[in-house]
Symmetry: none
């Protein structure tokens, strides 16, 4: 589940944003100042940082600059003014997107979803009745649950979220098992096989979608 760091000096705003985001299943951490945010980022990896521009001591621009010295985490700036000059400044400094106040829940969530999508970290993805959902850890076809093991679920998730892209066995191991895993590539084959069987039995034509790329790996095609 994506974790989001929200940085704002007003606690009312922190509450509001956290409320919206946690309702959507995101995990939120709060920072009441730029220094506080930078300190937190030394210890934790966040998926997205939401950064208010107007803050005492260190403003949002400065925090953004500082973050970019050591991290490429996606940053969304929160700005009160609707001025193009500010937008350009933010983008040049290294922000990825910005939201102008006042904003509503829909806009906030849409921007975060768009950013996560671009990074390949969606919470759910569906294709022709086949639905993959991170939150309940379930794959369903036409409403029917296809029971998968954790590894199987992760593999099909990465493939579905990145259609047309080939993943080598080693890439999948790095992504799912972790960089320091000793697991060998052939293990992936077994999981793919078992997963294919289970999905096929559900009636979904997985053989049209999940392709073996000889000598390279596996990919999902739409």
């Amino acid at each position: 589940m994506p974790t989001i760091l929200v940085v704002d000096d007003e606690s009312r705003m922190l509450d509001l944003i956290s409320f919206y985001l946690e309702a959507r299943g995101f995990t939120c951490e709060r920072a009441v100042s730029g220094n506080c945010a930078l300190e937190k980022m030394k210890h934790t990896i966040y998926d997205i940082v939401i950064l208010d521009v107007m803050m005492p001591n260190m403003d949002g621009w400065e925090v953004c600059k500082q973050i970019r010295l050591f991290s490429s985490v996606p940053i969304i700036m929160l700005t009160a003014r609707e001025e193009k000059k500010d937008i350009v400044k933010g983008l040049q400094i290294g922000a990825d997107d910005y939201i102008t106040k006042p904003f509503n829940e829909e806009e906030l969530v849409a921007r975060i979803d768009a950013l996560l999508r671009r990074l390949g970290k969606e919470k759910s993805i569906s294709y022709d009745g086949l639905v993959w959902e991170e939150t309940n850890h379930e794959l369903t076809y036409q409403g029917e649950v296809i029971p998968l093991t954790p590894k199987e679920f992760s593999i099909i998730g990465y493939l579905m979220k990145n259609p047309n892209r080939v993943f080598s066995r080693e890439q999948l191991i790095d992504l799912i098992w972790g960089m320091d895993s000793e697991t060998e590539g052939r293990t992936v084959d077994s999981h793919v096989r078992n997963m294919r069987d289970k999905v096929r039995k559900s009636g979904f034509p997985i053989d049209h979608c999940l392709k073996t790329v000889w000598g390279v790996g596996y990919k999902w095609i739409n």
Copy 2:
């Protein structure tokens, strides 16, 4: 250098955007309608698509949806209205960013730079409808896949990525097989032959492009 597809029915707007972008070193292609854009995307890989929302026949939303069926290219929407509802709609459909008219040169370039920065470099190359893509591990001609073996795919990749440069058989072996390979040069010939056959069968005039340099090796000419 990144190539950008600009889609707008007004030629004045096409001129303006192209002028700004080309001054910054980007290469621009123009499309005067959604259909025109979709057609172009079958033949060429673009780094970014800029899409006007207000167009006759097929509007920007629809074009965006269509593109998302087969490509994850970053899309920037051009919208006249500054309405949050439109922004949310665009992001939900699969756009990555949007710009409201009127916009200035700085804003346009800042947004494109931000998107490219976040994206990293795309590993693909296209020439006259022949598209080579690393991430998909696919070579296509006018949208049709040309099935290649791994070695064949690598060879044509190196040649296409370095037009006009001659590669000796030994160079190709070093690059593809690895420095310590014992494979002999004649093996390359076999792969080139098989690859030529497959590409020729697709209809692409490969004999005009992939040339044998007698006594030296092979090269791709534009």
